[in-house]
């Protein structure tokens, strides 16, 4: 999985040249209908995946995380309640070792305000996952669409789209994202609905992150389309009278479900890191709503981590474990769908 400019979508391409060619072949072998021993490729892939313990561990963690994000906020205490009595009056660090861990506060409290850290991490997970997921969906939709069109039609359409992707990749993305957040108004009316505050900010973040990640997907899909369009089944479909859109969406696209799934899964952690980076730089979720990146930012920039390391460590580990889980699962998925890259 590509990341660059420290954690962002950078240079294009994907992994090794062999990948882009190997996958479709493996996929098509099973998918086209030549059932081997009555098992579809999907079933084969699933069996392989199941055997990959590491990937399964990642999947389990992901499911756990989703459950926490969805149901957690209803179980934990209020993340915005201040407990100044739990703080050392001189330094405002939490009383007690490890950042004030106790039965009442299993992760301790944060310095200066004494808010429950577990609650803040759990509520923060909701936003991190929500933004990363939806941004990835956006990137995938745009990327697949343009990638298909570019790869299939070729010619000037391809040049135009490919050059556009080049332009995107020529921008210092993080800088742009920061600047865009600064330039966006704080109140907007879309289709009669007025959005403000965090609702607007979350939508903005989804849009910006998704919008800047689509070339990653686009390039991959374009590459896939380019190699797939020469295959016999496309000729066969054409000879039966099928035209562009049908071939694109009914023949080519289903054959790319594998790579799309894989790269989408691998895109999610990048987007989680992107959102964390934006929060770290102060342009993410608006306080007091918690966000993992903002907590690390507070810990580092206000130097709390010197006197209360848990305040940096816990949200940092949350980001880390989430990203690792997705990476492991994505890697496992890729290996399952294409044994050659193992």
């Amino acid at each position: 999985m590509r990341v660059g400019s420290e954690q962002l979508m950078a240079a294009p391409l994907d992994v090794s040249p062999a990948e882009t060619q190997a996958s479709p072949e493996a996929l098509i072998q099973g998918m086209g209908g030549r059932k081997i021993e009555g098992r579809s490729l999907g079933q084969i892939a699933w069996m392989r995946l199941r055997r990959d313990k590491v990937a399964m561990a990642g999947a389990v963690f992901i499911i756990f995380l989703i459950l926490v994000a969805v149901f957690g906020p209803y179980i934990v205490q209020n993340p915005d309640t201040y407990h100044p009595n739990l703080l050392n009056q001189t330094l405002l660090s939490p009383n007690g070792p490890f950042g004030g861990i106790s039965l009442a506060h299993p992760f301790g409290v944060d310095p200066q305000s004494g808010r429950d850290l577990l609650a803040r991490v759990v509520v923060g997970s909701r936003y991190s996952l929500l933004i990363a997921f939806l941004a990835t969906v956006l990137a995938v939709v745009i990327g697949v669409f343009f990638g298909l069109i570019a790869g299939f039609f070729g010619g000037w359409v391809d040049t135009l789209i490919a050059r556009t992707m080049d332009v995107f990749l020529a921008f210092p993305l993080l800088v742009f994202a920061i600047a865009l957040v600064g330039v966006f108004p704080s109140k907007a009316t879309i289709g009669g609905v007025t959005l403000t505050g965090n609702t607007l900010r979350v939508l903005m973040l989804i849009f910006i992150i998704g919008f800047f990640s689509w070339p990653y997907m686009g390039r991959i899909i374009r590459g896939q389309t380019l190699s797939l369009r020469e295959r016999e089944f496309v000729d066969a479909a054409r000879s039966l009278g099928a035209r562009g859109p049908y071939i694109l969406f009914r023949e080519l696209l289903p054959n790319m479900v594998g790579p799309i799934l894989v790269y989408a899964t691998l895109l999610i952690p990048t987007n989680i890191l992107f959102e964390a980076a934006l929060s770290y730089l102060g342009v993410g979720i608006i306080p007091p709503t918690p966000s993992w990146g903002a907590m690390v930012s507070d810990a580092v920039q206000n130097q709390w981590y010197y006197i209360d390391p848990m305040y940096m460590f816990i949200p940092g580990m949350a980001i880390f474990l989430t990203v690792v889980a997705f990476n492991l699962f994505g890697d496992g998925l890729r290996d399952a769908l294409d044994p050659k890259s193992r």
Binding site: P84, L87, L92, S113, P288, Q303, Y306
Partner: protein, 588 residues
């Protein structure tokens, strides 16, 4: 700070300044009361390591970009403190610890200004034979030219605007436009002879000595203000009349000062020329600054806002380090404006005052030890005219008074609470935390707020300081900080609360207070010539503002300053709110 629309301002006597001079303390500047030994808070009221030893190179760190090193173009307390190393204004603050440092004493001038024409005309006589760094003698024309530079607002926009507001021909375009015609073209400043400069104001203004105490009254030769160090580039090598001059300056990175050989200690007793070199590093990360101070790589953090959490921990837990640190009140008030147009009913505003949790707000700024003292008045204790009172149980119930808050809500008809937005500066440490703390406390009584953060650079010019924006975005509360341009009640309260000071952009009366009682009290103060009567009026204004619940005072700010033990003549300067940088030296 004052505004353009001041009218009817009669004479506040110059007695204001003279009264301060009666505060005692030795004359002759910075010898003061030496202490020799160092202990916690020793430098708050005495000189630590008094010494006249010369030599050595000092390294000073600054964690931000200065607004400008051009003394006619800067508006920050730490820069006003710092530029005295290379500039000599007409009058200056006395260099001595404690309240003594709030007095005005003459600097370039032979004495504090002589008012005439009911306070409309101010005359200053210059000391003869004060020289620039190039050996030329300072004349009154140079003082005039310095003042003229402050009119070139499109080139030098950052400095205070007192001359533009008070002088008679405030349409003067500055000496850069049509240079041949406009140099020396400011008619309201006259120079009858080379050692006399006369200011002609458009209204009586008894606090004018305070105005010329601002570094902008430093003389500049027109011939220096051209070419490589002219206009916007003056900041790269400003002409010096002080003990030091620029040797080199890489903009916003590093500045090196070396002694000005034409400086004469006999004519300038408030500053010293001790170190043989001063290197200022700018834009250094605050945690690096702290580390440098503790490790001995730097001798001073000139931003004067104290050390951060990591260093605080080290210092306060080590007796030897603690003995080298001070925890003074620095004269700054941190507070929240409560806008009287967005929340028009005084009882609703009082509900906010009662509901605020002072302890969490205090914690936002660093807690009781290093953040500040819980405040219940607008004027901090360091300002002339301060009187203590507490209308909303800030001291007796610092955790917030929910019962009284709810009573007030009922009285304003919003028993179920109401909602508005809270504005704050995102990059000013403590403000974001204060905004969240206030939000949490208000929620307890049913007042639901949304936070809106803005960068400091645009806060006053585009958002909180623009009444139209405040109204259209329902900003009921704006978090702010305030330090006066000069230390009397007028200097502290006027721009915050007089009805005439409300303007469409860059507004400082963000609460939009336009209370006839307050306005008439200010009027009264300016027409009274009796010093003690004036001093008695300031607390009345303070009380009225609090009765209007237009300001929610949070803390009188305190800072934890560290002074490396090898620095001499260190003491807290009450006016600047930090150490006096103009007298420091190195131990041998």
């Amino acid at each position: 700070m004052i505004r353009r629309q001041i009218s009817g301002l009669a004479a506040l006597t110059a007695a204001g300044a003279l009264a301060l001079a009666a505060c005692g303390g030795s004359s002759g500047g910075s010898s003061g009361t030496g202490s020799g030994s160092s202990s916690y808070n020793a430098a708050v009221s005495s000189v630590v390591n008094p010494s006249s030893a010369k030599g050595g190179t000092m390294t000073w760190d600054l964690n931000v970009t200065p607004d400008s090193t051009d003394y006619q173009n800067t508006y920050y307390a730490y820069m006003w403190d710092f530029v005295r190393l290379y500039s000599m204004p007409l009058v200056t603050y006395k260099s001595c610890p404690g309240k003594c440092g709030l007095q005005l004493v003459p600097s370039l001038a032979t004495s504090l200004g002589t008012p005439s024409d009911g306070g409309r005309v101010w005359t200053y006589h210059l000391k003869p034979n004060v020289k620039f760094q190039n050996g030329h003698t300072v004349t009154s024309a140079d003082v005039k030219y310095g003042v003229e530079r402050t009119f070139a607002k499109s080139v030098l926009p950052a400095g205070p605007i007192y001359y533009q507001v008070l002088l008679q021909d405030n349409k003067y375009p500055g000496p850069y436009v049509d240079r041949a015609k406009n140099i020396m073209g400011l008619t309201s400043v006259t120079t009858p002879n080379p050692t006399t400069v006369v200011f002609h104001l458009n209204q009586p203004f008894a606090d004018f000595n305070y105005v010329v105490a601002i570094p902008q009254s430093t003389p500049v030769e027109p011939s220096w203000d051209t070419g490589a160090h002219g206009g916007a580039n003056f900041q790269l090598d400003p002409e010096s009349t002080g003990p030091y001059q620029f040797q080199s300056y890489t903009l916003n990175k590093q500045l090196t000062l070396v002694p000005n050989k034409y400086w004469n200690a006999a004519t300038d007793s408030q500053v010293k020329q001790l170190a043989s070199k001063i290197v200022v590093n700018m834009n250094v990360n605050q945690s690096t600054v702290d580390q440098n101070l503790l490790a001995g790589y730097a001798q001073m953090d000139i931003h004067g806002l104290g050390v951060q959490a990591a260093a605080k921990d080290k210092i306060l837990t080590s007796p030897s380090l603690k003995a080298d640190s001070d925890n003074p009140v620095n004269g700054f008030l941190r507070f929240a404006y409560i806008n009287t147009k967005v929340i028009p009913d005084v009882h609703c505003r009082e509900a906010i005052e009662y509901a605020a949790d002072k302890t969490t707000l205090q914690d936002a700024y660093g807690g009781p030890i290093v953040g500040g003292q819980i405040a219940s008045t607008v004027m901090p204790p360091t300002v002339l005219g301060y009187k203590s009172f507490d209308l909303y149980k800030a001291s007796s119930q610092p955790g917030g008074d929910v019962k009284d808050a709810k009573t007030q809500l009922q009285q304003c008809g919003k028993a179920g609470g109401f909602s508005f937005n809270i504005a704050y500066r995102t990059d000013t440490p403590g403000d974001p935390q204060a905004a969240t703390a206030l939000q949490a406390a208000l929620k307890n009584v049913g007042i639901n707020t949304t936070l809106q953060g803005f960068p400091t650079a645009k806060y006053y010019t585009n958002f909180a300081g623009v009444p139209a924006y405040v109204h259209s975005h329902d900003i009921g509360v704006a978090i702010g900080g305030w330090g006066a341009d000069w230390p009397d009640g007028y200097g502290f309260l006027y721009d915050l609360s007089d009805g005439q000071t409300i303007i469409p952009a860059g507004n400082t009366n963000i609460s939009e207070i336009n209370d006839p009682v307050v306005n008439s009290l200010f009027n009264q103060a300016t027409t009274t010539t009796n010093q003690s009567a004036t001093t008695a009026i300031w607390p009345k204004i303070d009380m009225q503002i609090m009765k209007d619940a237009a300001i929610l005072p949070i803390v009188y700010q305190k800072v934890l300053l560290y002074r490396p033990p090898n620095v001499t003549n260190v003491y807290m300067d009450d006016f600047y709110g930090m150490y006096n940088y103009a007298v420091l030296g190195l131990k041998k």
